[in-house]
Symmetry: C2
Subunit: 226 residues, 2 copies
DNA sequence: TTAATTTTTTAGATTTGTCTAAAATTTAAT
DNA sequence: ATTAAATTTTAGACAAATCTAAAAAATTAA
Protein backbone atom coordinates (compact mmCIF):
# COMPACT_ATOMS: atom_id res chain seq x y z
CA UNK A 1 0.00 0.00 0.00
CA UNK A 2 1.29 3.43 -0.95
CA UNK A 3 1.90 6.28 1.44
CA UNK A 4 -0.44 9.22 1.81
CA UNK A 5 -0.14 12.68 3.33
CA UNK A 6 -1.88 13.53 6.58
CA UNK A 7 -4.29 15.67 4.63
CA UNK A 8 -5.12 12.95 2.13
CA UNK A 9 -5.64 10.50 4.97
CA UNK A 10 -8.06 12.84 6.71
CA UNK A 11 -10.12 13.19 3.57
CA UNK A 12 -10.18 9.44 2.93
CA UNK A 13 -11.17 8.62 6.48
CA UNK A 14 -13.91 11.23 6.54
CA UNK A 15 -15.39 10.12 3.24
CA UNK A 16 -15.47 6.55 4.58
CA UNK A 17 -17.44 7.65 7.64
CA UNK A 18 -19.85 9.87 5.70
CA UNK A 19 -20.32 7.25 3.03
CA UNK A 20 -21.50 4.74 5.62
CA UNK A 21 -23.89 2.77 3.41
CA UNK A 22 -24.89 5.90 1.58
CA UNK A 23 -24.38 6.10 -2.12
CA UNK A 24 -22.26 9.20 -2.49
CA UNK A 25 -20.80 11.99 -0.41
CA UNK A 26 -21.25 15.62 -1.46
CA UNK A 27 -18.71 18.40 -1.61
CA UNK A 28 -20.44 20.54 1.00
CA UNK A 29 -20.90 17.69 3.46
CA UNK A 30 -17.21 16.89 3.30
CA UNK A 31 -16.15 20.54 3.48
CA UNK A 32 -18.27 21.09 6.57
CA UNK A 33 -17.03 17.97 8.33
CA UNK A 34 -13.39 18.79 7.63
CA UNK A 35 -13.92 22.47 8.47
CA UNK A 36 -12.53 23.48 5.14
CA UNK A 37 -13.96 25.12 2.02
CA UNK A 38 -15.80 23.41 -0.86
CA UNK A 39 -13.15 24.57 -3.32
CA UNK A 40 -10.46 22.78 -1.32
CA UNK A 41 -12.53 19.62 -1.36
CA UNK A 42 -12.85 19.71 -5.12
CA UNK A 43 -9.10 20.07 -5.47
CA UNK A 44 -8.45 17.10 -3.24
CA UNK A 45 -11.09 14.99 -4.97
CA UNK A 46 -9.24 15.41 -8.25
CA UNK A 47 -6.06 14.24 -6.64
CA UNK A 48 -7.63 11.24 -4.95
CA UNK A 49 -9.39 10.30 -8.15
CA UNK A 50 -6.07 10.40 -9.98
CA UNK A 51 -4.75 8.00 -7.34
CA UNK A 52 -7.75 5.74 -7.96
CA UNK A 53 -8.96 6.01 -4.40
CA UNK A 54 -12.40 7.28 -5.34
CA UNK A 55 -15.03 7.46 -8.02
CA UNK A 56 -15.73 11.04 -8.96
CA UNK A 57 -17.42 12.84 -11.82
CA UNK A 58 -17.78 16.63 -11.50
CA UNK A 59 -21.05 17.60 -9.80
CA UNK A 60 -21.88 13.95 -9.09
CA UNK A 61 -20.51 13.46 -5.57
CA UNK A 62 -17.92 10.80 -4.75
CA UNK A 63 -17.52 7.33 -3.35
CA UNK A 64 -14.41 5.43 -2.30
CA UNK A 65 -13.12 2.70 -4.58
CA UNK A 66 -12.32 -0.67 -3.03
CA UNK A 67 -8.72 0.46 -2.82
CA UNK A 68 -9.89 3.66 -1.12
CA UNK A 69 -11.88 1.67 1.41
CA UNK A 70 -8.86 -0.47 2.19
CA UNK A 71 -6.83 2.64 2.88
CA UNK A 72 -9.64 4.07 5.02
CA UNK A 73 -9.90 0.89 7.08
CA UNK A 74 -6.18 0.96 7.65
CA UNK A 75 -6.35 4.52 8.97
CA UNK A 76 -9.34 3.64 11.17
CA UNK A 77 -7.46 0.61 12.46
CA UNK A 78 -4.54 2.82 13.48
CA UNK A 79 -6.83 5.36 15.08
CA UNK A 80 -8.78 2.87 17.14
CA UNK A 81 -5.76 0.86 18.24
CA UNK A 82 -4.14 4.03 19.54
CA UNK A 83 -7.39 4.97 21.30
CA UNK A 84 -7.38 1.59 22.98
CA UNK A 85 -3.76 1.99 23.98
CA UNK A 86 -4.31 5.45 25.43
CA UNK A 87 -7.28 4.38 27.51
CA UNK A 88 -6.08 0.93 28.54
CA UNK A 89 -2.38 1.52 29.13
CA UNK A 90 -1.92 5.24 29.69
CA UNK A 91 -5.18 5.64 31.63
CA UNK A 92 -6.59 8.43 29.54
CA UNK A 93 -10.28 9.05 30.07
CA UNK A 94 -12.35 7.69 27.20
CA UNK A 95 -13.36 11.16 26.04
CA UNK A 96 -9.74 12.35 25.84
CA UNK A 97 -8.41 9.67 23.54
CA UNK A 98 -9.87 10.86 20.26
CA UNK A 99 -7.88 14.06 19.74
CA UNK A 100 -4.56 12.43 20.55
CA UNK A 101 -5.32 9.47 18.28
CA UNK A 102 -6.05 11.95 15.48
CA UNK A 103 -2.32 12.66 15.43
CA UNK A 104 -0.99 9.20 16.16
CA UNK A 105 -3.07 7.60 13.39
CA UNK A 106 -0.89 9.26 10.75
CA UNK A 107 2.26 7.45 11.83
CA UNK A 108 1.95 4.75 9.25
CA UNK A 109 4.58 2.12 9.99
CA UNK A 110 2.90 -1.21 9.26
CA UNK A 111 5.17 -3.01 11.65
CA UNK A 112 4.47 -0.54 14.44
CA UNK A 113 0.73 -1.03 14.18
CA UNK A 114 0.86 -4.80 13.94
CA UNK A 115 3.14 -5.01 16.96
CA UNK A 116 0.95 -2.59 18.87
CA UNK A 117 -2.06 -4.76 18.03
CA UNK A 118 -0.26 -7.83 19.31
CA UNK A 119 0.88 -6.02 22.46
CA UNK A 120 -2.67 -4.93 23.20
CA UNK A 121 -3.96 -8.49 22.74
CA UNK A 122 -5.80 -7.94 19.46
CA UNK A 123 -8.65 -5.89 20.92
CA UNK A 124 -11.93 -5.99 18.99
CA UNK A 125 -13.41 -2.66 20.11
CA UNK A 126 -12.05 0.76 20.97
CA UNK A 127 -13.03 2.70 24.13
CA UNK A 128 -16.05 4.17 22.32
CA UNK A 129 -17.29 0.69 21.44
CA UNK A 130 -16.39 1.03 17.78
CA UNK A 131 -14.98 -2.11 16.16
CA UNK A 132 -11.24 -2.20 15.38
CA UNK A 133 -10.38 -3.56 11.91
CA UNK A 134 -7.78 -6.35 11.94
CA UNK A 135 -4.69 -6.27 9.74
CA UNK A 136 -6.82 -7.44 6.79
CA UNK A 137 -9.45 -4.76 7.30
CA UNK A 138 -12.06 -7.12 8.75
CA UNK A 139 -13.88 -6.08 11.86
CA UNK A 140 -16.43 -7.43 14.27
CA UNK A 141 -19.90 -6.97 12.82
CA UNK A 142 -19.35 -4.04 10.55
CA UNK A 143 -23.10 -3.43 10.77
CA UNK A 144 -23.85 -6.46 8.66
CA UNK A 145 -27.58 -7.07 8.42
CA UNK A 146 -29.76 -9.30 6.24
CA UNK A 147 -31.93 -7.70 3.60
CA UNK A 148 -35.10 -8.32 5.61
CA UNK A 149 -33.77 -6.21 8.48
CA UNK A 150 -32.57 -3.38 6.27
CA UNK A 151 -34.58 -0.15 6.82
CA UNK A 152 -36.52 1.13 3.81
CA UNK A 153 -34.67 3.38 1.35
CA UNK A 154 -31.36 2.89 3.10
CA UNK A 155 -28.69 2.29 0.47
CA UNK A 156 -26.45 -0.68 1.26
CA UNK A 157 -23.96 -2.99 -0.35
CA UNK A 158 -24.26 -6.75 -0.70
CA UNK A 159 -21.45 -8.38 1.26
CA UNK A 160 -22.45 -11.99 1.91
CA UNK A 161 -24.85 -14.61 0.59
CA UNK A 162 -25.24 -17.55 2.93
CA UNK A 163 -27.40 -19.80 0.76
CA UNK A 164 -26.21 -21.31 -2.47
CA UNK A 165 -29.52 -22.87 -3.61
CA UNK A 166 -30.32 -23.01 -7.30
CA UNK A 167 -33.10 -20.52 -6.74
CA UNK A 168 -30.67 -18.08 -5.15
CA UNK A 169 -28.05 -18.49 -7.85
CA UNK A 170 -30.65 -17.93 -10.53
CA UNK A 171 -31.86 -14.79 -8.81
CA UNK A 172 -28.36 -13.39 -8.47
CA UNK A 173 -27.47 -14.22 -12.02
CA UNK A 174 -30.68 -12.96 -13.54
CA UNK A 175 -30.71 -9.68 -11.64
CA UNK A 176 -26.96 -9.26 -11.90
CA UNK A 177 -26.46 -9.08 -8.14
CA UNK A 178 -22.91 -9.61 -6.89
CA UNK A 179 -20.89 -8.96 -3.80
CA UNK A 180 -20.53 -5.19 -3.87
CA UNK A 181 -23.81 -4.49 -5.66
CA UNK A 182 -25.49 -1.47 -4.14
CA UNK A 183 -29.23 -1.53 -3.59
CA UNK A 184 -32.02 -0.45 -1.30
CA UNK A 185 -35.32 -1.88 -0.09
CA UNK A 186 -38.29 0.19 -1.32
CA UNK A 187 -41.24 -1.65 0.21
CA UNK A 188 -42.08 -4.71 2.29
CA UNK A 189 -45.17 -6.74 1.47
CA UNK A 190 -46.68 -8.64 4.35
CA UNK A 191 -49.37 -10.41 2.34
CA UNK A 192 -47.01 -12.59 0.30
CA UNK A 193 -43.81 -12.29 2.37
CA UNK A 194 -41.84 -10.49 -0.27
CA UNK A 195 -39.79 -7.28 -0.38
CA UNK A 196 -39.28 -4.86 -3.22
CA UNK A 197 -35.73 -4.05 -4.13
CA UNK A 198 -34.16 -1.48 -6.36
CA UNK A 199 -30.59 -1.71 -7.62
CA UNK A 200 -28.63 1.52 -7.65
CA UNK A 201 -26.82 2.63 -10.75
CA UNK A 202 -23.20 1.76 -11.17
CA UNK A 203 -20.55 1.73 -13.85
CA UNK A 204 -21.77 -1.69 -15.00
CA UNK A 205 -25.45 -0.79 -14.98
CA UNK A 206 -25.46 2.85 -15.96
CA UNK A 207 -29.16 2.91 -16.87
CA UNK A 208 -31.86 3.01 -14.21
CA UNK A 209 -33.45 -0.42 -13.67
CA UNK A 210 -37.01 -0.93 -12.44
CA UNK A 211 -37.50 -2.34 -8.93
CA UNK A 212 -38.36 -6.01 -8.48
CA UNK A 213 -39.53 -8.26 -5.68
CA UNK A 214 -37.90 -11.25 -4.00
CA UNK A 215 -39.15 -13.60 -1.32
CA UNK A 216 -38.34 -13.08 2.33
CA UNK A 217 -36.89 -16.59 2.27
CA UNK A 218 -34.19 -15.53 -0.14
CA UNK A 219 -33.79 -12.05 1.35
CA UNK A 220 -32.97 -13.57 4.74
CA UNK A 221 -29.85 -15.07 3.22
CA UNK A 222 -28.48 -11.94 1.61
CA UNK A 223 -26.39 -9.74 3.89
CA UNK A 224 -25.44 -6.13 3.36
CA UNK A 225 -23.16 -3.53 4.89
CA UNK A 226 -24.79 -0.27 5.86
CA UNK B 1 5.66 26.28 24.83
CA UNK B 2 4.58 27.06 21.30
CA UNK B 3 3.95 24.53 18.59
CA UNK B 4 6.38 23.88 15.76
CA UNK B 5 6.12 22.16 12.41
CA UNK B 6 7.74 18.78 11.84
CA UNK B 7 10.31 20.48 9.66
CA UNK B 8 11.15 23.12 12.24
CA UNK B 9 11.47 20.43 14.90
CA UNK B 10 13.88 18.44 12.76
CA UNK B 11 16.09 21.47 12.28
CA UNK B 12 16.06 22.35 15.98
CA UNK B 13 16.87 18.81 17.06
CA UNK B 14 19.69 18.48 14.56
CA UNK B 15 21.25 21.79 15.51
CA UNK B 16 21.18 20.68 19.14
CA UNK B 17 23.04 17.49 18.32
CA UNK B 18 25.62 19.16 16.07
CA UNK B 19 26.12 21.97 18.56
CA UNK B 20 27.07 19.50 21.27
CA UNK B 21 29.43 21.72 23.21
CA UNK B 22 30.68 23.29 20.01
CA UNK B 23 30.41 26.96 19.49
CA UNK B 24 28.36 27.26 16.32
CA UNK B 25 26.90 25.10 13.59
CA UNK B 26 27.51 25.90 9.93
CA UNK B 27 25.09 25.96 7.04
CA UNK B 28 26.78 23.16 5.13
CA UNK B 29 27.03 20.88 8.17
CA UNK B 30 23.34 21.21 8.82
CA UNK B 31 22.39 20.82 5.16
CA UNK B 32 24.39 17.63 4.90
CA UNK B 33 22.98 16.14 8.09
CA UNK B 34 19.41 16.91 7.08
CA UNK B 35 20.03 15.81 3.51
CA UNK B 36 18.82 19.10 2.20
CA UNK B 37 20.42 22.04 0.40
CA UNK B 38 22.30 24.96 2.00
CA UNK B 39 19.78 27.43 0.57
CA UNK B 40 16.97 25.67 2.40
CA UNK B 41 18.92 25.84 5.63
CA UNK B 42 19.40 29.58 5.30
CA UNK B 43 15.67 30.05 4.77
CA UNK B 44 14.83 28.04 7.87
CA UNK B 45 17.47 29.80 9.97
CA UNK B 46 15.78 33.13 9.25
CA UNK B 47 12.50 31.70 10.40
CA UNK B 48 13.91 30.18 13.57
CA UNK B 49 15.76 33.36 14.37
CA UNK B 50 12.51 35.32 14.03
CA UNK B 51 11.02 32.89 16.54
CA UNK B 52 13.95 33.54 18.87
CA UNK B 53 15.04 29.92 18.87
CA UNK B 54 18.55 30.64 17.67
CA UNK B 55 21.29 33.19 17.41
CA UNK B 56 22.14 33.87 13.81
CA UNK B 57 23.98 36.53 11.86
CA UNK B 58 24.49 35.97 8.12
CA UNK B 59 27.72 34.09 7.39
CA UNK B 60 28.38 33.56 11.12
CA UNK B 61 26.84 30.16 11.78
CA UNK B 62 24.16 29.60 14.39
CA UNK B 63 23.59 28.44 17.96
CA UNK B 64 20.37 27.66 19.80
CA UNK B 65 19.10 30.17 22.34
CA UNK B 66 18.12 28.87 25.76
CA UNK B 67 14.56 28.73 24.51
CA UNK B 68 15.75 26.78 21.47
CA UNK B 69 17.58 24.31 23.70
CA UNK B 70 14.44 23.79 25.76
CA UNK B 71 12.49 22.98 22.64
CA UNK B 72 15.25 20.64 21.45
CA UNK B 73 15.31 18.79 24.77
CA UNK B 74 11.56 18.35 24.60
CA UNK B 75 11.81 16.79 21.14
CA UNK B 76 14.66 14.55 22.27
CA UNK B 77 12.62 13.53 25.30
CA UNK B 78 9.75 12.50 23.07
CA UNK B 79 12.07 10.63 20.72
CA UNK B 80 13.83 8.65 23.42
CA UNK B 81 10.69 7.82 25.36
CA UNK B 82 9.13 6.36 22.22
CA UNK B 83 12.34 4.43 21.53
CA UNK B 84 12.16 2.98 25.01
CA UNK B 85 8.50 2.09 24.54
CA UNK B 86 9.12 0.41 21.20
CA UNK B 87 11.96 -1.73 22.52
CA UNK B 88 10.59 -2.48 25.98
CA UNK B 89 6.90 -2.97 25.28
CA UNK B 90 6.56 -3.75 21.58
CA UNK B 91 9.75 -5.83 21.44
CA UNK B 92 11.35 -3.99 18.58
CA UNK B 93 15.03 -4.69 18.15
CA UNK B 94 17.17 -1.83 19.40
CA UNK B 95 18.35 -0.95 15.90
CA UNK B 96 14.79 -0.68 14.56
CA UNK B 97 13.43 1.85 17.02
CA UNK B 98 15.08 4.98 15.67
CA UNK B 99 13.23 5.38 12.37
CA UNK B 100 9.83 4.80 13.93
CA UNK B 101 10.56 7.22 16.76
CA UNK B 102 11.49 9.82 14.14
CA UNK B 103 7.79 9.98 13.28
CA UNK B 104 6.31 9.53 16.74
CA UNK B 105 8.44 12.32 18.23
CA UNK B 106 6.45 14.92 16.33
CA UNK B 107 3.19 14.08 18.08
CA UNK B 108 3.48 16.81 20.61
CA UNK B 109 0.74 16.36 23.19
CA UNK B 110 2.33 17.24 26.52
CA UNK B 111 -0.11 15.04 28.39
CA UNK B 112 0.59 12.08 26.12
CA UNK B 113 4.30 12.24 26.74
CA UNK B 114 4.05 12.73 30.49
CA UNK B 115 1.63 9.81 30.80
CA UNK B 116 3.84 7.68 28.58
CA UNK B 117 6.80 8.54 30.81
CA UNK B 118 4.83 7.53 33.89
CA UNK B 119 3.63 4.31 32.22
CA UNK B 120 7.19 3.35 31.35
CA UNK B 121 8.37 4.00 34.91
CA UNK B 122 10.36 7.17 34.22
CA UNK B 123 13.22 5.47 32.37
CA UNK B 124 16.56 7.28 32.47
CA UNK B 125 18.13 5.89 29.29
CA UNK B 126 16.85 4.85 25.88
CA UNK B 127 17.79 1.54 24.20
CA UNK B 128 20.93 3.12 22.73
CA UNK B 129 22.06 4.19 26.19
CA UNK B 130 21.34 7.85 25.59
CA UNK B 131 19.86 9.71 28.55
CA UNK B 132 16.17 10.66 28.45
CA UNK B 133 15.40 14.24 29.54
CA UNK B 134 12.70 14.51 32.22
CA UNK B 135 9.73 16.82 31.88
CA UNK B 136 11.92 19.74 32.95
CA UNK B 137 14.64 18.95 30.43
CA UNK B 138 17.07 17.53 32.98
CA UNK B 139 18.81 14.29 32.21
CA UNK B 140 21.14 11.84 33.84
CA UNK B 141 24.72 12.98 33.43
CA UNK B 142 24.49 14.79 30.17
CA UNK B 143 28.20 14.08 29.73
CA UNK B 144 29.09 16.24 32.66
CA UNK B 145 32.82 16.14 33.31
CA UNK B 146 35.15 18.20 35.40
CA UNK B 147 37.61 20.53 33.70
CA UNK B 148 40.56 18.25 34.46
CA UNK B 149 38.95 15.43 32.49
CA UNK B 150 37.99 17.56 29.53
CA UNK B 151 39.93 16.65 26.35
CA UNK B 152 42.16 19.36 24.93
CA UNK B 153 40.59 21.85 22.52
CA UNK B 154 37.10 20.47 23.09
CA UNK B 155 34.70 23.38 23.50
CA UNK B 156 32.39 22.98 26.48
CA UNK B 157 30.03 24.95 28.66
CA UNK B 158 30.36 25.49 32.40
CA UNK B 159 27.36 23.89 34.11
CA UNK B 160 28.27 23.37 37.75
CA UNK B 161 30.78 24.59 40.34
CA UNK B 162 30.96 22.40 43.42
CA UNK B 163 33.28 24.47 45.55
CA UNK B 164 32.42 27.90 46.87
CA UNK B 165 35.79 28.78 48.39
CA UNK B 166 36.96 32.38 48.35
CA UNK B 167 39.70 31.42 45.92
CA UNK B 168 37.13 29.96 43.53
CA UNK B 169 34.79 32.91 43.76
CA UNK B 170 37.64 35.27 43.09
CA UNK B 171 38.70 33.28 40.05
CA UNK B 172 35.16 33.17 38.63
CA UNK B 173 34.64 36.86 39.25
CA UNK B 174 37.99 37.96 37.95
CA UNK B 175 37.86 35.91 34.78
CA UNK B 176 34.14 36.49 34.28
CA UNK B 177 33.28 32.80 34.32
CA UNK B 178 29.61 31.93 34.88
CA UNK B 179 27.29 29.00 34.39
CA UNK B 180 26.95 28.90 30.63
CA UNK B 181 30.38 30.33 29.86
CA UNK B 182 31.93 28.49 26.94
CA UNK B 183 35.58 27.58 27.07
CA UNK B 184 38.18 24.98 26.16
CA UNK B 185 41.34 23.54 27.69
CA UNK B 186 44.43 24.35 25.61
CA UNK B 187 47.21 22.66 27.56
CA UNK B 188 47.84 20.69 30.74
CA UNK B 189 50.99 21.29 32.74
CA UNK B 190 52.21 18.40 34.82
CA UNK B 191 55.07 20.22 36.50
CA UNK B 192 52.92 22.61 38.54
CA UNK B 193 49.53 20.87 38.33
CA UNK B 194 47.83 23.59 36.33
CA UNK B 195 45.82 23.71 33.13
CA UNK B 196 45.60 26.43 30.54
CA UNK B 197 42.14 27.63 29.65
CA UNK B 198 40.79 29.83 26.92
CA UNK B 199 37.36 31.44 27.02
CA UNK B 200 35.41 31.46 23.80
CA UNK B 201 33.95 34.64 22.47
CA UNK B 202 30.38 35.49 23.29
CA UNK B 203 28.00 38.39 23.07
CA UNK B 204 29.24 39.60 26.46
CA UNK B 205 32.91 39.21 25.61
CA UNK B 206 33.09 39.94 21.91
CA UNK B 207 36.83 40.46 21.86
CA UNK B 208 39.31 37.60 21.96
CA UNK B 209 40.83 37.12 25.44
CA UNK B 210 44.25 35.59 26.07
CA UNK B 211 44.38 32.11 27.69
CA UNK B 212 45.18 31.81 31.37
CA UNK B 213 46.09 29.04 33.82
CA UNK B 214 44.29 27.71 36.86
CA UNK B 215 45.26 25.05 39.39
CA UNK B 216 44.08 21.46 39.07
CA UNK B 217 42.64 21.89 42.56
CA UNK B 218 40.20 24.49 41.32
CA UNK B 219 39.66 22.84 37.92
CA UNK B 220 38.48 19.65 39.60
CA UNK B 221 35.51 21.52 40.99
CA UNK B 222 34.35 23.10 37.77
CA UNK B 223 32.04 20.91 35.68
CA UNK B 224 31.17 21.32 32.04
CA UNK B 225 28.77 19.87 29.48
CA UNK B 226 30.30 18.60 26.28
C1' DT C 1 47.87 40.73 -0.61
C1' DT C 2 45.72 39.51 -4.46
C1' DA C 3 43.60 35.67 -6.66
C1' DA C 4 41.29 31.31 -6.42
C1' DT C 5 38.30 28.48 -3.90
C1' DT C 6 34.79 27.45 -0.75
C1' DT C 7 30.83 28.74 1.83
C1' DT C 8 26.71 31.15 2.34
C1' DT C 9 23.00 33.95 0.83
C1' DT C 10 19.68 35.83 -2.55
C1' DA C 11 16.47 35.52 -6.32
C1' DG C 12 13.20 33.14 -8.53
C1' DA C 13 10.67 28.70 -9.41
C1' DT C 14 7.99 24.48 -7.74
C1' DT C 15 4.79 21.54 -4.96
C1' DT C 16 1.16 20.86 -1.59
C1' DG C 17 -2.71 22.39 0.54
C1' DT C 18 -5.35 26.07 1.35
C1' DC C 19 -8.27 30.35 0.36
C1' DT C 20 -11.67 34.01 -2.10
C1' DA C 21 -14.37 35.43 -5.80
C1' DA C 22 -16.55 34.41 -9.90
C1' DA C 23 -18.46 31.14 -13.25
C1' DA C 24 -20.83 26.85 -14.26
C1' DT C 25 -24.09 23.39 -13.14
C1' DT C 26 -27.77 21.27 -10.70
C1' DT C 27 -31.91 21.50 -7.91
C1' DA C 28 -36.06 23.64 -6.29
C1' DA C 29 -39.91 26.72 -6.80
C1' DT C 30 -43.26 29.35 -8.96
C1' DA D 1 -40.81 25.30 -18.15
C1' DT D 2 -38.58 29.11 -16.75
C1' DT D 3 -36.60 31.41 -13.11
C1' DA D 4 -34.46 31.60 -8.63
C1' DA D 5 -31.55 29.47 -5.31
C1' DA D 6 -28.20 26.37 -3.90
C1' DT D 7 -24.23 23.62 -4.96
C1' DT D 8 -20.00 22.76 -7.16
C1' DT D 9 -16.15 23.91 -9.94
C1' DT D 10 -12.66 27.04 -11.95
C1' DA D 11 -9.35 30.68 -11.83
C1' DG D 12 -6.08 32.98 -9.48
C1' DA D 13 -3.61 33.97 -5.12
C1' DC D 14 -0.97 32.71 -0.92
C1' DA D 15 2.02 30.35 2.74
C1' DA D 16 5.30 26.66 3.83
C1' DA D 17 9.11 24.11 2.50
C1' DT D 18 11.85 22.92 -0.86
C1' DC D 19 14.98 23.42 -5.13
C1' DT D 20 18.51 25.49 -8.84
C1' DA D 21 21.39 28.99 -10.45
C1' DA D 22 23.69 33.09 -9.65
C1' DA D 23 25.65 36.62 -6.58
C1' DA D 24 28.04 37.91 -2.35
C1' DA D 25 31.12 37.11 1.42
C1' DA D 26 34.65 34.62 3.75
C1' DT D 27 38.55 31.65 3.62
C1' DT D 28 42.72 29.70 1.66
C1' DA D 29 46.69 29.73 -1.11
C1' DA D 30 50.05 31.40 -4.18
Amino acid sequence: MLNFSTSEENYIKTIFHLQNGQNTVTTNELAERLRTKPASVTDMMKKLKAKKLLHYQPYQGFRLTNEGKKVALDIIRRHRLWEFFLAEKLKFKWDEVHVVAEDLEHVSSRKLIDKLDEYLGYPKFDPHGDPIPDSLGKMENSEQVSLVELPLNKPAEVCRVVNQSEEMLELLQHKKINIGTRLEVKRKFGFDHSIEIKLRQSKRTPSEQPPFSISEQLAKNIFVNL
